[in-house]
Amino acid sequence: MLVYIREAHPDSILFVPTKSGGKELGVVGQTFAVQDRLNNLHQCTSLLQLTMPSVIDSDDNIVNRTYAAWPDRLYAIDTDGKVAFKSGPGPAGFKTPDLAAWLQKNVR
């Protein structure tokens, strides 16, 4: 599940989707409210064609802070609801191969 949190590099200029289905350069700003965050999430999932379940952190950023998640971080929660995998804080700790290895070992 993707948990969309505060932007890591706000005001970056990136390609964003257009209404006509193309893409253009646009500014991706910081998000202070639910609607801003939904807009950025839609741009992100649309352009990158992501299909995973996705949610946005609330405007008080409480989940982000509780999980010490900014700018990016990976967790796996086991079937008992306990933290079973926790990457280091990003960007240095954001290592998808480590998570992939954990999944291969623990999920059939």
């Binding site: 932007e7 890591a8 999430l41 989940v63 509780t66 929660i77 954001f94 623990n106």
Partner: protein, 384 residues
């Protein structure tokens, strides 16, 4: 670039499966507010809203109510009202509180200027001191260039105000700004855009480079961004301002750091004067370099704190004029004051529960409802 990384590696995700809720785990996230640590940081903002004393008092009262705010003040300078805050956490919390009081807060801008004049015969340190004493100016850096100076000025000051101060020393100055024009990459269209912008009052020179998705621009001259944007739009382009990445960090060389204990001691000293973002300490051949996020403490305060801990800091001023470059996308530096240092999650312990809005903006997913058959992977990140 988190999410892009995920898309690139094609990571398989474990879908959430609805199972009986573990209600006792819920709301742990909500009980964990205020996790940003106890160190206070300082920041300043331009206030957009009613300038009356009564309304500004209301703004101050609203900010004072925010948890962790130690000090807050407003200062009126010609053309602007500034808000200075010292608090455990800046950013969203402060801006949201201001919005609820009917105000918008904007980060004080950083501008690059090209000043042409007699660098050889001018006391640059005196000039720097004069500029730093201007109302609204928070930081000034300068680097000699051929025939003049490149200046980086952070603060709420109008370009004409800066020019007036530099003029007695024989300098003429004008801002230099970088933009990306989003639109046609056809050379003829870019040339038409360049010609149109060149005709605007205040513009002295335009540089362009065609890139995929439009063009990179550098604009020389004292011209309002709104005028540039409007003209570009009339030519079929969206104009996107490019931040100066170097403006986000104050750089120093350090004397006295020899090992990891010294590094820790220096970090502690800097945290003590309000540095809340990432402190970069880099050892290279022959010297130690320090990078500290701007906007949290002045260079003088940082140097004083380091001195008290037994280290000498010398500020490194490297101001470079914007260039048209060849990049299509521009990634800004990491946002300051966002990282949470406290680790509230523990391996083997219950994951703090949450219930968050789904991408459709209507439904919610509750983490604890997903426990049961298979593990749940949480990928925290953003587009940038």
């Amino acid at each position: 670039m988190t999410i892009r990384t995920i898309a690139a590696v094609g990571l398989t995700l474990v879908a959430a499966t609805a199972l009986p809720a573990a209600s006792q785990r819920r709301d742990r996230a909500q009980s964990a507010v205020g996790a940003e640590g106890s160190q206070a940081a300082s920041g300043s903002y331009i206030v957009v809203g009613s300038p009356t004393d009564a309304d500004l008092d209301r703004l101050l009262a609203a900010i004072r109510k925010v948890d962790g705010v130690e000090q807050v003040e407003v200062k009126k300078i010609p053309g602007n009202t500034l808000l200075r805050v010292r608090a455990a956490a800046l950013g969203t919390i402060i801006i949201t509180a201001a919005r609820k009081a009917g105000f918008e807060l904007r980060q004080t801008p950083t501008r690059i200027y090209l000043a042409t004049g007699p660098t050889q015969s001018t006391d640059l340190s005196q000039l720097r001191t004069t500029l730093r004493s201007l109302p609204g100016v928070e930081q000034v850096e300068m680097s000699p260039q051929a025939g003049g100076l490149a200046l980086r000025v952070r603060g709420a000051i109008d370009p004409s105000g800066l020019a007036a101060v530099l003029k007695p020393s024989g300098f003429t100055s004008a801002p230099v700004s970088a933009f990306v024009a989003s639109g046609s990459a056809a050379p003829a269209d870019v040339a038409r855009l360049r010609m149109a912008l060149n005709q605007l009052l205040g513009v002295s020179k335009i540089e362009t480079r065609v890139v995929i998705g439009g063009a990179n621009l550098v604009v020389y001259g004292d011209v309002k961004e709104e005028a540039l944007t409007k003209t570009a739009r009339a030519c079929g382009y969206g104009l996107l301002s490019v931040n100066d990445p170097a403006s986000e960090t104050q750089r120093f060389t350090v004397q006295g750091v020899t090992g990891s204990e010294d590094e820790a001691k220096l970090r502690d000293a800097l945290r003590g004067v309000g540095v809340a973002g990432e402190i970069q300490i880099q050892k290279t051949a022959g010297e130690v370099r320090l990078g500290v996020p701007t906007g949290t403490a002045s260079a003088r305060a940082l140097a004083g704190a380091a001195k008290s801990a037994g280290f000498d800091l010398t500020q490194v001023e490297t101001v470079t004029l914007p260039s048209i470059g060849s990049e299509r996308e521009r990634i800004t530096p990491p946002a300051p004051n966002e990282r949470t240092i406290d680790e509230q999650t523990r391996m083997g312990e219950l994951a703090p529960d949450f219930s968050l809005l789904m991408h459709d903006g209507k439904g919610k997913i509750t983490l604890s409802n997903s426990f049961g058959k298979r593990p749940v992977v949480l990928i925290f990140g953003s587009y940038t």
